[in-house]
């Protein structure tokens, strides 16, 4: 479920997920462990994208799972994916953390594994890193609603439908916000990197 678009959008294979969630609700620690393993990357990426700081992201990610424990008995299985419910908790927790600590998102260094990926050419790798950093900076310049949709879609890997459920919006609304957000990103990035707007050779 972590960042898989196909899985997030599929929705055909509900039963195993449902069984794990119900076992976790009954206090089965193995099932809770499985839920944690399935969603930690997703939750962490979301928190990191929103807070821009590894330490804050770790604190909040852990807090999100503790909140999940508290809310789990009240979670009702109505074909709403667990991930959408969890990301709703994540959103609230991030907002509450930022308010509590008086923080806004900060720029964090890109993780090593991204920097080192495909680094055959050091020059090219460095340029890619710059582009990605600028892109994340540009996401921070979007409106709150657009940013939230972009982060849920591309950092947490939720489908359009799950993003809509998580935000309590209609799918159409999410599509519009995503489109506008991406257009705005293009507008912000193109002056600096005109090649991004062009068709690749």
């Amino acid at each position: 479920m972590t960042s898989s678009f196909s899985q997030a959008d599929g929705g055909s294979d509900w039963e195993p997920q449902r069984q794990v969630v119900e076992a976790a609700q009954a206090g089965d620690l193995d099932a809770l462990g499985a839920l944690y393993d399935a969603h930690i990357n997703q939750v962490y990426r979301y928190a990191l994208a929103r807070l821009g700081n590894v330490h804050d992201a770790e604190d909040v990610a852990e807090e999100i799972f503790l909140k999940m424990l508290g809310g789990l008995p009240n979670y009702r299985w109505l074909k709403v994916p667990f991930a959408a419910w969890l990301m709703r908790i994540a959103r609230n927790e991030v907002v509450s953390f930022a308010r509590r600590n008086g923080r806004r998102a900060r720029e964090a260094d890109l993780p090593e594994e991204i920097v080192d990926r495909n680094n055959n050419d050091p020059q090219e790798a460095a340029e890619k890193v710059l582009v990605l950093e600028d892109l994340r900076h540009a996401v921070g310049l979007l409106s709150d609603a657009q940013r939230e949709v972009i982060i849920l879609r591309f950092a947490a890997g939720l489908s359009v439908a799950d993003t809509a459920r998580s935000l309590g919006k209609r799918e159409n609304n999410v599509k519009v916000l995503q489109h506008k957000g991406m257009q705005r990103l293009q507008a912000l990035m193109t002056p600096k990197y005109p090649e991004l707007a062009r068709r690749q050779p």
Partner: protein, 460 residues
């Protein structure tokens, strides 16, 4: 092209990319829309890369442990309710009364036994004899003899029953079990007493049962622990002192009597056991000491090896650390000691003290003094964590070479409960496996005690 259509194509491209196609292959499927689609698609992929950071492994593992520990604590709190001792005692009394009443009702419904034919024949013979001109005293003597023979039979039966009961109750195992049960109940009563709830009848019940256990040990001292018995008597005496004598003077006096009696018996028992227990070896020990059944343990059969998913709980007879009785909990991967009054949650033991347990985490419930303890053991990594109220402490780190927390560290976090946890941590050992080298090569979390309230910052 409409916005909806463009978003739909973007979604399809992302799905195809997820399925393993290259960006070029994804875009090639939509040649007419490519000009509009490609910048968006490439931007979406860039966004995914830009936000693809993964949490550090150390953080993931530590946060997972803490989350599961928190989950275990919630479950523990939900099941921690105990009935008041007063209620328990009164319910016990009502139950026993009801059982007695039902037995009486049942007996009343049973018709009197039909006498065997020869009894009537004998009676008729005697009556016939009485009709003859015999002296009146003669039938009286016969009747007396009949009653006498009946009494002898009843007496014999009673003697048999007495011998049977003595043999049954006199086994050391039964006495030890009863003592463990008394201690467990005593712990609950002490806990309630600390909250100001105390009942004389409950203490009387415990004292009387302790007295009986001492009797059993007196008749068969094998396995008797006079210090333990004395400790339990002292604890009951301490409880009794908290009761106002005016409240129930008769019961208080009777309870005190029971305890004094039990104490005297324990002193005598200790005197009987002491010489054999503290026997010092002679300066020149005989090369082949003659085995005596009381002192030389019979060779115990080697326990059957456990299979995966099995747990064995066995008594550690030689372990009297902190004057407690200890049990060994053993799986194919991990073994450790726990106080005998602690319980492994969800485990039912079968023959040989072996039960089935398939979960990765084992939860053990117990108490140290008045503090409830939940022990969580990760059977895969060997990490053991204890939760005492709001405090959480790592008792042993994970891995085959996992370190037990030091006594100083434990005491600094959990105070008086530290020594018990220290013994659990130092007793823990992981079974040697073929791929042990691989297991030890991966770094494991250390067993530095930490409080839940102030979680240690995870390594970046």
């Amino acid at each position: 092209m409409s916005r909806d259509r463009l978003m739909e194509l973007l979604e399809q491209c992302l799905l195809q990319f997820e399925a393993g196609l290259s960006p070029e292959e994804c875009l090639a499927a939509f040649p007419e829309e490519r000009d509009l689609l490609e910048p968006l698609f490439r931007q979406a992929l860039s966004l995914r890369v830009a936000f693809s950071g993964l949490p550090a492994e150390g953080f993931k593992r530590a946060a997972r442990e803490r989350t599961l520990v928190a989950a275990g604590r919630d479950v523990g709190a939900a099941f921690a309710a105990e009935p008041e001792p007063g209620f328990a005692a009164s319910a016990r009394r009502r139950l026993l009364n009801a059982a007695g009443a039902q037995a009486q009702e049942a007996l009343r419904a049973v018709p009197p036994p039909r006498l065997p034919f020869w009894v009537n024949a004998r009676r008729r013979l005697l009556e016939a004899a009485a009709m003859s001109a015999r002296p009146a005293a003669r039938p009286m003597a016969l009747a007396f003899r009949t009653a006498l023979s009946g009494s002898v039979a009843v007496l014999a039966l009673a003697l048999l029953a007495l011998v049977y009961l003595t043999l049954q109750n006199g086994t050391p195992r039964a006495a030890a079990d009863e003592l463990a049960q008394i201690e467990q109940e005593l712990q609950v009563v002490e806990q309630q007493a600390s909250n100001g709830k105390i009942s004389v009848s409950v203490i009387f019940d415990l004292a009387a049962r302790t007295n009986q256990v001492v009797d059993k040990f007196s008749s068969n001292p094998a396995g008797a622990q006079p210090e333990k018995l004395q400790e339990i008597i002292d604890r009951q005496a301490d409880l009794l002192e908290q009761v106002s004598p005016e409240e129930a003077p008769q019961e208080v006096a009777e309870t005190k009597e029971q305890l004094d009696e039990a104490e005297a018996k324990v002193t005598s028992l200790a005197a009987r056991i002491e010489p054999t227990a503290t026997a010092t070896p002679t300066s020149e020990p005989s090369p082949e000491p003659s085995p005596s059944p009381a002192q030389t343990p019979s060779p115990t059969p080697k326990p059957k090896p456990l299979e995966s998913g099995q747990v064995r709980v066995s008594a550690l007879r030689n372990d009297t650390t902190l004057a407690l009785t200890w049990y060994k909990v053993e799986t194919t991967t991990l073994s450790f000691a726990i106080p005998s009054t602690w319980q492994v949650a969800g485990l039912t033991l079968g023959s040989g003290g072996v039960g089935t347990f398939t979960s990765e985490y084992m939860r053990i419930d117990g108490a140290i003094g008045e503090v409830s303890v939940i022990l969580l053991a990760n059977l895969q990594t060997g990490q053991i964590t204890a939760i005492l109220g709001d405090d959480q402490v790592n008792v042993r780190g994970g891995g085959a070479d996992g370190q037990a927390a030091t006594l100083t560290d434990l005491i600094s976090v959990v105070g008086d409960a530290g020594p018990v946890l220290f013994h659990i941590g130092t007793s823990a050992a992981m079974a040697e496996t073929e791929d042990e080298e691989e297991a030890t090569a991966t770094p494991r979390p250390s067993a530095t005690p930490t409080r839940t309230a102030t979680p240690t910052p995870a390594e970046p």
